[in-house]
């Protein structure tokens, strides 16, 4: 069994209200939208995030919106946030983590590349618990975020393949059959902590299943 938890929601920023985590980040009001969002959504999840050994950050559009903001009005504070990995530091600060951040970009496949790398890094024994944070711009000041944690807790895939492989196995309802046939997949279970509903991965989009 292995557990992969997921929270998915879009967020509209409101940087005029002092956030609950404000005291953890100096000059929190200088965070860019992505960093602010990640801090805002990860703060209530601190308990679930505890024990994370690696953060894999996924950005399908890199930091392009912040790049534009810097282009329009350059400042040192804005420039720092044009470096994609920097947005994860707000998450680390509010969750009091001091761990490596792997900042990956793979266009529209970024989230799934991040998931694949994270699953593999847990599978190969490099880390026991990995957090995947995906932040995507929807429109101005509105972001979709996905946070997953992968925990080591039992047998894993025998050999890692692409996320497509897992999706196919799941989408035809064949997770168990796949495991029996190939001894490669035990269970791929996403739990939406907000709604307590299971989520599973579809073809490059997350699908929500009824309980």
């Amino acid at each position: 069994m292995y557990y992969l938890q997921c929270l998915t929601q879009s967020v509209v920023l409101n940087k005029k209200i002092v956030p609950k985590w404000a005291q953890k980040i100096k000059r929190w009001n200088q965070l860019d939208g992505a960093a602010f969002t990640l801090a805002e959504v990860s703060h209530p999840l601190k308990k679930e995030i505890l024990g994370t050994e690696l953060v894999v950050l996924s950005s399908s559009l890199s930091s392009i919106q912040t790049d534009h903001e810097f282009y329009r009005s350059p400042s040192a504070a804005k420039f720092v946030h044009t470096l994609p990995n920097v947005r994860a530091t707000a998450l680390l600060q509010v969750c009091e983590l001091k761990v490596p951040v792997l900042s990956v970009e793979n266009g529209q496949h970024s989230l799934f590349s991040a998931l694949e790398e994270a699953i593999s890094l847990v599978y190969d024994g490099s880390y026991k618990k990995v957090l995947i944070a995906s932040i995507e711009l929807i429109e101005n000041d509105q972001y979709r975020w996905d946070i997953f944690t992968i925990n080591i807790n039992g047998p894993y895939f025998k050999s890692p393949h692409s996320i497509d492989y897992y999706c196919t196995a799941l989408d035809d309802g064949g997770a168990e059959k796949n495991y029996l046939d190939n001894n490669t997949l035990r269970q791929l279970l996403f739990t939406d902590l907000r709604t307590q509903r299971f989520i599973r991965v579809g073809h490059f989009q997350l699908k929500t299943m009824e309980n």
Binding site: P74, Q93, V99
Partner: protein, 379 residues
């Protein structure tokens, strides 16, 4: 993880051999944005090319280029040409992985356009290049971990090889100095006076350089043109969120990283990040003073010569470390005149001849990242 081959080119056309000649003879090779800011207000060049033209030594890689992406294409073509001539046998891309490491990619190409046309300025470079050149790698990804991007790319390549996800992995790293990057470092007031002087008491900032470097890693195929097998033995990185903009003055993250991974064991030389900013050099030096209290491990750095090439800097230092192991010499920081009195480490300003079997290459980057790897001789 064995190193099979490597390639390097600066955007003013300096290759690996020329860089090595320069760094041992005290010459500066960079095409760099080096002027101190003359205004308090950050500059923002209206176009990529105005930023590029601000830099001396216009490059052939900029000719016939209509965008930053085109410049990357030209650099990549040169790099793959070098790799093919440096690597024994043929490349079978279908069995290889590709990791592109860049801090900003072709960001300038996407400034001033409508939001609905946004695209990832890093991945779009890699994706369009691989499509245009019909290179079908088994696996590819982009890494953007600030100035430690190369180190993180090497980390991931090692994992791919250990998991047999690819027989070989190409890590390619590059950043351009366009209007965006020039303006950004200007806004940080991080730029120094040329020549920059890493670890010197009068150092006052960094020098931006522009280059593309690549290294092929693998397990099965021996290296070409060298009698010495060279490999990466350890690689790691960590993030200290409290040091997002400025590294810890005591070098805490770098110290912890190296100590926890046992990277200090057996080291006989260090190639430091050595940007020449007051904060970076002090932080690194303090980490090394704590790791090596006898201050008997020679420390050098390359950015005085080639400039700070951001995402590419780690691979360039790896290539220089390979040369040191092969040739038995360690390049100096030729611009270093008087070591910072607060620094006790053995920073060298003259070429050192000795046998080197284990060279530690370190990096510090924005976002609080500290990264390092050991380059060792297999002999």
């Amino acid at each position: 993880m064995q190193i099979i081959s490597s390639a390097l080119v600066t955007s003013c056309g300096i290759g690996k051999c020329a860089l090595i000649d320069s760094i041992y003879s005290g010459k500066l090779t960079h095409r760099a944005f080096s002027s101190r800011p003359t205004t308090k207000k950050p500059l923002m060049f209206p176009s990529f090319y105005e930023g590029a033209q601000y830099c001396p030594l216009p490059s052939s890689f900029y000719q016939k280029a209509n965008s930053a992406r085109d410049v990357f294409f030209n650099l990549f073509d040169e790099i793959f040409s070098q790799l093919k001539s440096n690597t024994p046998g043929e490349f079978d891309y279908s069995k290889m992985g590709m990791i592109f490491c860049s801090t900003k990619g072709a960001t300038e190409d996407y400034l001033g356009i409508a939001a609905q046309k946004f695209a990832d300025p890093i991945h779009s470079v890699l994706d369009s290049y691989l499509t245009a050149r019909e290179m079908n790698f088994a696996k590819s990804i982009c890494i953007s971990n600030a100035c430690s991007s190369s180190h993180v790319g090497i980390f991931l390549a090692n994992k791919w090889l250990l998991r047999d996800e690819a027989e070989e992995v190409v890590v390619i790293s590059s950043d351009l100095i366009g209007s965006f990057v020039a303006s950004g470092f200007n806004s940080l007031k991080a730029l120094g006076t040329t020549p920059i002087r890493p670890f010197d008491g009068k150092r006052d900032g960094l020098l931006l350089g522009e280059a593309c470097a690549a290294v092929v890693f693998g397990k099965n195929r021996g290296p070409l043109n060298t009698s010495i097998g060279i490999k990466i033995s350890k690689v790691g990185f960590i993030t200290d969120p409290g040091a997002t903009i400025r590294p810890n003055a005591e070098g805490e993250s770098l110290y912890q990283l190296i100590k926890n991974h046992g990277m200090d064991i057996g080291v006989d030389a260090i190639i430091a990040h050595g940007t020449s900013t007051p904060a970076n050099d002090l932080s690194e030096a303090k980490a090394y003073e704590r790791l090596f209290p006898e201050n008997n491990i020679p420390i050098t750095a390359s950015k005085w010569c080639i400039g700070h090439t951001m995402g590419a800097s780690g691979l360039i230092d790896l290539i220089l470390a390979m040369d040191s192991i092969e040739s038995g010499r360690l390049f100096p920081i030729s611009t270093l005149k008087e070591r910072d009195p607060n620094i006790n480490s053995l920073v060298i300003n003259e070429t050192l001849s000795a046998e080197f079997n284990n060279i530690l290459v370190s990096s510090l980057g924005f976002g609080g990242i500290a990264a390092a790897f050991n380059v060792i001789s297999e002999n």
